[in-house]
């Protein structure tokens, strides 16, 4: 189980492979559920050229770690990985990677969905968008369900 804040761009699929190989669990997992959130170049019909992603150092890391523990306590998981960017983010950059490994798809799907929805609604991150008209804070995340 691992969670981490990244200040530099990361390649989610390379991270996924690297972590999976480090797990030493080959042959045990039958289901891997993966979510990658990437930056779009448009929001609310406006062009977005970049974003600044702010977090609460300390609380954000603690919250993501707790989420991983909660998922492991509730579902039958082999491992989980959460990576999240902060700092200046550009269109097509990965913002978040959530991956869950389990024996069967039910636990993998449900736990990954839980991690993403909790992260989106409670993990202390904030996005400030840069548009041709200037900067603006994103006020709310869209509902996941």
């Amino acid at each position: 189980m691992h969670s981490e804040i990244r200040e530099q761009p990361f390649e989610p699929y390379a991270e996924l492979l690297k972590y999976q190989q480090s797990m030493q669990a080959a042959g045990r997992y039958g289901a891997t559920a993966v979510f990658v959130g990437s930056m779009r170049d448009i929001n609310e019909n406006d062009t977005v050229t970049a974003m600044e992603l702010e977090h609460y150092p300390g609380m954000t890391e603690k919250y993501l770690h707790t989420l991983g523990e909660q998922a492991a306590a509730h579902w039958d998981l082999i491992d989980s990985l959460i990576l999240h960017r902060v700092g200046r983010v550009e269109p097509d950059d990965a913002i978040v990677l959530v991956a869950v490994w389990s024996a069967h798809r039910k636990d993998a799907f449900e736990a990954s969905r839980y991690l993403m929805e909790e992260l989106k609604s409670k993990a202390p991150f904030w996005k400030k968008e840069q548009t041709p008209e200037g900067e603006r804070w994103v006020e709310n995340n869209t509902a996941g369900y």
């Binding site: 702010e54 609380m59 999240h84 993403m116 989106k120 409670k122 202390p124 904030w126 996005k127 709310n140």
Partner: protein
Amino acid sequence: MTIEVKFFASLREQLGRGEASLTAANPMSVAEVWSQATDNAEMPANVLMALNMEYVTAETTVNDGDEVAFFPPVTGG
């Protein structure tokens, strides 16, 4: 006693500062910390509050050495 206060994102910009340090004679609620740290500014209805990096409500008691944070709805992921 001393209480460290933090503000994040749009709330920090609206208040014009990211941190404040309070001294108080007695334990107080999170709501009272807000009032003292913001010169009695009105608390936004959607503000989120954390005490020592855990979510709490406005009624939660704050003690000496605690860190209190106020921030707008989160928008990560």
